[in-house]
Symmetry: C2
């Protein structure tokens, strides 16, 4: 497509009106960045009309406005349901201007009305205290994507269209964002899309050539390389390049018509049975940065250069800058665009689609409106029989998988549940899912492939970024999901978690946003069982990262066995507007609670395990607390040892499922009251706390508690290697022997038990010698059973 060929696409009148709409959007964008008052320039512009602090980004804005008006034309012509994602950072002046022009903004924020007064408010609120941010955000109508941290627009887009066969997501990818890793791999999303049952993504790569102070890579490679790159990614790129508005309007209209036709043709073919992966269209729009802005500022190149990135000129003490601003604003001829009252001219208003067809009012962008709760089978039906604690060994996540399988089956008709993970669903023992669905795959398939299918509902790509981005896009458009990941590598998406948690917090402050399903993580293959992998795979710090976010948003669960895992999973799948982190092992491990006990325990989130305690109804001599499956095992083994060594010692065993119970109630809604906490942990007895992760997190949560000074926490202290499971806990002093030594060190009555201490030290030495000789753990450790189950 060249601009030449396309000159007849739009009738002159329509082209003219679209250009006027674009001028209006650009005018409103500049106004938001610069003006405090005098929104229609009906008075001579003075410094008093200009904001005292000029903040915002002009560079990407005119391009976004250009794309917006063209998408509106396409929607009006085809009645397509289109969602708009503005990938470029700081595109808010444009997105807000366009959503205002089509009326949605004023419907949601009546104060920002369709008149001169509303215009003044629109301008004033932008990047102003108490106002709105300079990038698309939860406050922005039609947005499911914050243009703050870059890299996730396209994975959000691909997540949004899953199971939305009629939806098209027009995803503008900035050429800055395109340099990020997450974005660079997300082009491959087209190999995981089912054209028969999913919608389509139309990527619009916007080459405006510059980042903050640099050119962009993709704008500075030859045309043939650029074309090859995107053909290699599996797309059919359509180029729209230039800077003269008239031919650019014609070219863009032609490009969109061509792309739309290709999308519908691909979908039709697939829906009629065609099996091959289609070549999806994309648009490469090359237009000047800061298009229609000042050509030069202070004699230096501005339009089409990085100097247009933010505010092209901001030192308003120079009188010539005030003139430049007024000339720039007037170049859009606002008097032709807005009527006397300050309302957009009716024939321009008519360019917008109507009602829900406006991209800013598309219900998919406020996913909570469309969200229906999952149909959940009774999780108790999947319970493991546990006749006595520790009497059964099995893989907890396998049991969870059987529940997830039936969640998948129960919701098959509504197609609103998917499971995500980087090639690890089976490795994480969730393979029961493959009894009812497959892995989504639309690249080449062979007869011997294992559970690969176009309409698979398990999304696996070796990119945690992609899994997270897909899931966020899926949730934000009103569906449900779960992301299972190796614990250490979930840090790859630390910053994506941050942004999603911030989105959720801000959303709660936006009245018209409806709650969306929680983002659920299952972290498995955790720090304590890295038999194949070693030190590089050992990091339990995601929990520490998560708890820095607002208490309203985050939950952390450490179910010690399969039945508690079932209970927690059910709870998380029912919740909304949260991030739930579940940590659970995938290796065979002893089971402690039957389903009734599990339900009771999870309802409290924390509790005394009386069957493992020897303190009766009185005060214990020592509290053994634990959180996490491996620490629970070691704690119970320590309790067993203590019973053998010191039958008189009164030991209380506490297990924590819901980590947030440890925080003060004033800090977290799940936090125990101080009275309840003291009743559990005592006010003055030693507490030996075996924790799954970095030990100081327990101190950070509990430092205000009465008995905090007596809490001694064991956890992962960055000691690890490729070794046996028991050696891992020994290296970090979380093992049963060290825990008992800790008790000896802290219970005054035991201070003199020199023999016991020596016996424990001997045992640790025996362990070291044994694993070096045999490569496996001591038989007595491997075969240990809780005394109650013997």
């Amino acid at each position: 497509m060249t601009t030449q060929q396309a000159t007849e696409k739009l009738a002159p009148d329509l082209a003219e009106r679209m250009n006027a709409w674009w001028r209006a959007a650009n005018f409103l964008s500049v106004g938001q960045i610069y003006l405090l008052d005098n929104p229609l320039l009906r008075e001579k512009l003075t410094l008093a009309h200009v904001k005292p602090r000029l903040l915002g980004h002009w560079g990407t804005t005119p391009g976004l406005n250009f794309i917006y008006v063209h998408l509106n034309r396409l929607i009006r012509q085809t009645d397509a349901s289109v969602l708009f994602i503005a990938g470029p950072g700081h595109g808010a002046p444009g997105v807000v201007a366009s959503t205002y022009l089509e009326g949605t903004y004023s419907e949601l924020y009546p104060d920002v009305s369709q008149d001169e007064e509303g215009l003044a408010k629109l301008f004033r609120q932008f990047s102003f205290p108490g106002g709105i941010p300079s990038h698309a955000a939860p406050e922005t109508p039609g947005s499911i994507h914050e243009g703050g941290e870059l890299g996730y627009s396209l994975s959000h887009a691909y997540g949004a269209v899953l199971d939305n066969p009629e939806l098209i997501v027009a995803c503008v990818v900035g050429d800055g964002e395109a340099e990020t890793g997450p974005l660079a791999t997300s082009w491959h999303g087209n190999k995981f899309l089912n054209p028969a049952n999913d919608g389509a993504v139309l990527p619009i790569l916007h080459l405006n050539g510059y980042k903050i102070a640099n050119p962009t890579v993709l704008a500075r490679i030859p045309h043939e390389e650029l074309k090859a790159l995107f053909e290699g990614y599996g797309y059919a790129p359509i180029f729209v390049e230039g800077e003269e508005p008239e031919p650019m309007h014609q070219a863009m209209a032609a490009a969109l018509d061509e792309a739309y036709a290709a999308i519908r043709a691909n979908q039709k073919a697939a829906r009629e049975g065609m099996e091959e992966r289609p070549r999806w269209p994309m648009i490469i729009l090359r237009s000047p940065k800061g298009w229609t802005g000042p050509k030069t500022v202070d004699g230096k190149k501005a339009e089409g250069f990085w100097r247009s990135h933010q505010v092209p000129f901001s030192d308003m003490s120079k009188p010539e800058h005030l003139t430049l601003l007024e000339d720039w604003l007037k170049s859009y001829r606002p008097e032709e665009l807005f009527d006397e009252a300050g309302r957009l001219r009716a024939d321009l208003l008519a360019l917008s689609p109507e009602g829900d067809r406006r991209m800013s009012a598309n219900p998919h962008a406020n996913g909570g409106v469309l969200r229906r709760p999952l149909r959940l089978p009774d999780f108790a039906d999947y319970a493991v029989a546990v006749p006595q604690p520790g009497g059964v060994e099995l893989e907890s996540t396998f049991v969870m998988g059987t529940f997830l399988r039936d969640v998948m089956k129960e919701n098959d008709a509504s197609r609103n549940f998917r499971v995500f993970g980087p090639d690890e669903t089976a490795s994480n023992r969730l393979q029961a899912l493959f009894e009812v669905t497959d892995r989504a795959w639309d690249a080449e398939r062979f007869s011997y492939d294992d559970h690969l299918a176009r309409d698979g509902r398990v999304m696996e790509m070796l990119s945690e970024h992609m899994c997270q981005g897909w899931l966020e896009g899926y949730l934000l458009t009103g569906r449900h999901g779960l992301f299972s990941c190796y614990e250490a590598f979930i840090h790859i998406v630390d910053s994506m978690f941050n942004q999603h948690a911030k989105w959720l917090k801000s959303s709660r402050e936006v009245e018209w946003r409806r709650p969306i399903s929680s983002l659920n993580y299952l972290l498995t293959s955790h720090v304590w069982r890295q038999d194949h992998n070693g030190f590089s795979h050992q990091d339990p710090g995601f929990i520490d990262h998560v708890v820095n976010k607002k208490a309203d948003i985050v939950r952390v669960y450490l179910p010690p066995d399969a039945n508690t895992l079932l209970c927690v999973t059910d709870h998380c799948l029912r919740s909304w507007n949260r991030v739930n982190v579940i940590v659970a092992g995938k290796q065979p491990a002893p089971q402690w609670l039957d389903i009734d006990a599990a339900i009771r325990h999870c309802a409290q989130g924390i509790g005394i395990w009386e069957w493992a305690s020897t303190d009766g109804d009185g005060e214990p001599d020592v509290v053994l607390a634990c959180a996490g499956d491996v620490p629970t095992l070691e704690t119970l083994a320590a309790a067993d040892l203590l019973r053998d060594f010191f039958p008189e010692l009164k030991v209380r065993v506490i297990n924590v499922v819901d980590l947030m119970t440890l925080q003060p109630h004033s800090e977290h809604p799940h936090g125990l009251s101080d009275t309840d906490f003291d009743a559990l942990f005592t006010r003055d007895k030693p507490v030996i706390f075996a924790y799954h992760g970095y030990p100081w997190l327990i101190h950070r949560l509990a430092y205000r508690r009465t008995n905090h000074d007596n809490m001694h926490v064991r956890g992962y202290v960055e000691e690890g290697s490729t070794t046996t499971p028991f050696d891992m806990v020994v290296r970090n002093r979380l093992d049963r022997f060290h825990l008992v030594i800790d008790v000896l060190d802290r219970v005054p009555a035991l201070a003199s038990k020199v023999h016991a201490r020596q016996a424990l030290r001997d045992k640790l030495n025996e362990h070291s010698r044994y694993i070096r000789a045999h490569g496996v753990d001591l038989p007595e450790v491997r075969e240990w059973k809780w005394s109650g189950s013997k």
Copy 2:
């Protein structure tokens, strides 16, 4: 290149010997995974010879061995200096086998000798307690890259060749790894390489088709798409595809010769003045997963399928598996490969390069050997004159930039210092660097470009992953650098930091590894000054993430002004084997310490600011502590207010530069002794601590200190928006007024000061009204000056 065309590349004898070497490497790889003893199969294989726990990854290994022997042939033929990076996870059986065959392994680990006994040790130690991990690691000779978390091989490779004009890094990229975001963008590293002064990267994309349980994307797209993708990335791909060893040897040899010739031709042209970016060669090697392994296991496809990913069969209780293992091992005909003593046949040994030319002995892979300290100008020469505290305002990072400029200049001849950052060097006020160098750029350049040059030493790409990967590769090969980043977005590389910190910890335990330069972060554009950006750009949690790693490795500095920043920067650039995090603002801010005071303060890392305190030599009534530039400003303003309100009150002001001083000395080498801590913070007086980041971190560091229960910490609590600088601190209650209220709440003598409290509340209300009306902070806040500087 097709296998057909290349049949004559290798003389038959050479091809035969290379294949024998490959068989030997494969044999040793299988041996490492399976065998405990009987390494040369000189006895009938029994279960007693097999490891009790079978751990390891076979799938990628034969491909790595194949590439290794071919690179050796190329090195012998050309005498090139080649470094080997094994991107695929868990490639250790192969890399270790190859480095053993060329003798390096036994030189570094004499116990693992070149004889039958050494072979038994080699096998036994693999994935065995006290042994070595299953992926390339610091223990692995010749490695600068841990094949644990995937995605960083190619950015490491590009970092390693910078300023090493003769070096070639042969970088094997697994097709699993190729799906990650960081890897997908790192192909663009070729646009930042200077062919005249940097070395070359030869990427070898190894398509073995499968991940853990899935095919890979790049192995399942048509040949034409694959070719287009890499041509689009700017490479000239050479394909080597097949599974029959003989033609594959011929094809691989031809491909390597072709690639090598292209590299040298590109370099020659550039070094003779050619300006255009060359098209660099790469190799796409398509070979079966688990090549030469069992075709089927238990009737199921194994070779060429994902079932070969780890241990192809591990249930050794089945007698047929023992037979299968023996047959497999014997298929390599070890009796033809090793002599009576168990040493590789001499004519095969002769295939390895000699001395430092062995990839496993290349000194670049043990960068500390090559590392020379930086020439550093005296940082005091860049000091800001501070006649009285608070008397001068300027941008601290700008001052740091002038120092970095001269560090760059002083080391220009040795070409061993670079600065990295995602398009933010100037935005972060380090623009003085551009007085002496440019941004590296080998894509298209235009006359109006700003400081872009092929030989620029500032590396900017909008990918934090790429910046981090480049820098790691640069440091690991013995050079120096600094990464400047927006504070919030450094979380993008949380997991890369993890892996690097783990690498450093493990390296310290490897006797032959020499120390490398520290990885230095400058985090700026920090949480408190996001005027353009708002909530999504506010996250100070990287510090929390960092302090979870081993105390030996991590340091965190919060210099409050320019002179302390200079002092800290100098210190960090001199250090080794650490990760240093420096947090400092880029906005104009008051300066507190002259250079002599700054040097004294930084030497202690923490100290009383007597000029700001009113406690004389006695005990204070209250301690105001602060860490970070904005908290320091607010603390001093609070001290000023307290002096006005309560002239009798004895206030002590403590500033913390080195955060690790707060930890107990037993936990961190920089930690203060309890005596020193108590002398500063008192044993019982209220402490109001204004901290840059999440407040609970201070509690986590200081919870064991005597006076901890009286410490009240203010910091960032996830409250933010697009607003004024002062409103940001108000929203998080870190502002001067809230700090004074905190003092009122905690100093018993002030409990009755109702008027003061009301005056402060009034002030906060006035602030709110004022910013909403004017969009800027109260004049008295904007114009506040420390009383000593008035």
